[in-house]
Symmetry: C2
Subunit: 470 residues, 2 copies
């Protein structure tokens, strides 16, 4: 029956999406078995590529009527298995919904289709002196030359953060309006170009719901002026507790850095072993990268204040990087940290938890210990802005059992994050990989409340099934 439902669906979908808008061949489907979560696979029955809100609505309605699971997919960079079709079904790809529809400088918003790549908005806005503040121009995938990066739709599904969230907040703080497609194929436009809305905040509800309530077709995002100048500060530390205290001291000083990123020794070693080496100090236990912005004199003044706080907090070296070319190189190095892991180990699992900032040193040491007791090394990068920790657990898949040990270590680290007062995900979602950890954060009753809300949107339970809820 499932088989005939799929072929009935595919035939009808071809009528309005065209031949190239519906993939069903084994070889084509192979690409969609995985996302950035290398430890998980699933097999889709069909992949469709709508171009507009209306096409997305029609194809979702069709699938829902046939009773076929619906899995939204952007660039497939999820690290929690959110984009993996674990139950089979139809993948609705936003690859052809990749248009920037409008830039409205007076209202400081951009209107974009869900498949627009995060980086593109900034490439487009740069000449206007504007930016979209969620800077996720990372290359998550193992190949550092890859141009695959996340889409706005994916960012919304996961409420992603990025390096600039210390100052600008996370994705939900950038959203003014959404056009969503309900499982029934009905289109709902929520919000607009304005700040505030009457009635319930459906934008907040959809954001971070990982495709389990509705699909996002278009978004109205706020854009902000780019500052005239930015200055980068590079500090190194002889031990982790001192680095952790320095992060707190900078925050308590009243400085408003746009970005504040910490890398531990192994993360620095990885980056410095590859083509993106930027001369980061390899002898330090931790390296802290901070960026401040403003007018040139303002940014310089703030940078010297921050540098002073870092020195007083026990940094073993502080450098104000005034040369923009060198600063750009340093930030590129940071952004390549995941990709560079290949230089220190053949495979890795990346985790994503948050912790109260003052527990930073403790969390880093627990992460290392969780690896060490299984004979694995753990590198760490940390977005101090939202207390978002990314431990990278290195393993060698050729050694039997190591992959399982790495996954186990990852779970142990996330549980430690929760025990320290944090959460099991900062920006990569709960997805499939972490759903069994949800009860560590919420009581059964809170989870039931969420499921009751899901049932309002998706009574048949066809939207990204098998995700978030244990």
């Amino acid at each position: 029956m499932r088989r005939s439902a799929i072929s009935g669906f595919a035939k009808k979908a071809r009528e309005f999406l065209g031949e190239e808008g519906v993939l069903q061949e084994e070889v084509d489907l192979l690409v969609y078995e995985q996302d950035g979560t290398l430890a998980l696979r699933g097999k889709a029955d069909v992949v469709v590529f709508p171009r507009t809100v209306q096409e997305m609505a029609k194809v979702v309605e069709l699938a829902y009527n046939y009773g076929i699971p619906i899995i939204g997919r952007g660039s497939g960079t999820s690290l929690s298995g959110g984009g993996v079709p674990v139950t089979g079904g139809v993948i609705v790809s936003t690859a052809r919904m990749n248009k920037i529809l409008e830039i409205d400088l007076e209202n400081e918003v951009a209107v974009v289709q869900a498949g627009v790549i995060n980086d593109w908005i900034n490439a487009y806005l740069a000449r206007m002196g504007y930016q979209y503040a969620i800077d996720l121009g990372f290359q998550y995938m193992a190949d550092p030359g890859s141009q695959r990066v996340s889409t706005i739709g994916g960012n919304i599904a996961h409420n992603s953060g990025g390096v600039k969230c210390f100052k600008y907040g996370v994705t939900v703080n950038q959203l003014r309006g959404l056009t969503i497609v309900l499982p029934t194929g009905e289109v709902r436009r929520i919000g607009g170009k304005e700040f505030e809305q009457a009635g319930y905040d459906l934008i907040g509800l959809i954001t971070g719901s990982e495709g389990t309530l509705a699909l996002v077709a278009e978004a109205i995002v706020r854009i902000v002026p780019t500052y005239e100048s930015s200055v980068t500060i590079l500090a190194k530390f002889a031990d982790l507790p001192t680095a952790g205290r320095a992060v707190s001291a900078v925050i308590a000083s009243g400085a408003m850095p746009v970005a504040m990123e910490l890398m531990d020794k192994l993360a620095v070693e990885a980056v410095e072993s590859g083509p993106y080496a930027a001369g980061l100090p390899k002898d330090a236990e931790a390296v802290l990268l901070i960026q401040v912005e403003g007018s040139l004199p303002g940014a310089k003044e703030e940078a010297s204040k921050v540098a002073e706080v870092l020195r007083r907090s026990g940094a073993s070296g502080v450098e104000i990087v005034e040369d923009p070319a060198r600063a750009a190189k340093i930030w590129a190095a940071r952004k390549q940290a995941f990709g560079a892991m290949g230089f220190v180990g053949p495979n890795y699992v990346v985790e994503d938890g948050t912790i109260p900032r003052k527990k930073l040193a403790e969390a880093l040491m627990l992460a290392r210990a969780a690896g060490a007791k299984r004979g694995l090394r753990v590198a760490n990068v940390f977005h101090a802005g939202d207390g978002n920790l990314h431990p990278l657990i290195l393993y060698d898949e050729r050694k039997p059992g190591e992959r399982e040990k790495a996954i186990e270590a990852g779970e142990e680290i996330l549980e430690a994050c929760v025990e320290l007062g944090g959460t099991i995900t900062g920006e990569h979602g709960v997805g499939y990989m972490k759903k069994k950890l949800l009860p560590k954060m919420y009581r059964r009753e809170e989870i039931e409340l969420m499921k009751a809300i899901k049932a309002v949107f998706d009574p048949k339970g066809l939207m990204n099934p098998g995700k978030i809820f244990p």
Copy 2:
């Protein structure tokens, strides 16, 4: 039956709230017939004053089991009738839940009970160099000497903005965690001290829901460092379109003012007629107040840039107010604008809509026209940060029919806001007064979606009944 339910409820409530925690006398209930919405009254059956989350939970459970409507109430400054018990029932006042429970500077959060007055947090934080960024220290009520101001719980229920939202966002952007009481009396803790949460964003959903889903008992709010210095810029304009374009020009210039407020001629006249007169120019069609902050040199530099933009945009006068005492006087004048209306007319209706900023001049002229054709004068204050317009429609209640005309003019203005691409509420909620306008903003289907979500929380429909939904 209702009568016996009420006395049964009151008797049991007294057991744990004490005699002074339950009001039932006619004379006591009188105070709770109204909120800031002078045009609406309703009669509560009983008013209760829990002191803790547990007491709030117990009293809500009790009322729900008796089938009694539950109306949450902070300071009762609502301007949309949100706090008026139009169906009777029990008012759950947060007046005794007024404690600041914790200030955590390292995580930059404050933990407060829902009844804490907005102003108190800042009074408390000032000596630590911190602030809660939602500055609602207005005195909404007619008496400018009154110390009644809004509570954090009320701010959350309405997702309020305030003068600083241009830079810091609205209430939902300040929230990290909430403790809520469901209609069944069950307590749910959502979020925590961390930025991001796994699962659905229940905080966003509760914020702005005007007590129709659950009651807020406690909140964890982010606090931010106070800047070293601020500088105020005062500009005057000979006509509204020029003032509107100047607001857009300042935003497009990339400046990041903390506050940007516009008052029209009649609003200035009112303020300058009373004890808060601050020497604002009475000859201008519009006066724009802007505040920038930073280090002293940084703030001064930004102020001169903003002043230059204003001059180039056609301001007929621009003054950089460097004297902090004079600046404080000017902002106090702005904050007293509502109260000062008494100097230019005996009564007023205040409306609350948003508009796209570039439609400012158009909206102001429509507002005036809506009054003029009914023989009424309309003053306007405008938060440029979130495009939030507050028209103040003057009338004389001694003249038969004027009050009705004023309400009618208000509705016409809000409809115009929607037609200009805005909304029917910026921060005062939909409440009772504007529920019939909700269909101007949403289609039936979007409203049904909201009602379906309400039913998940409140199947009996007892939470603030008669509000938001038409």
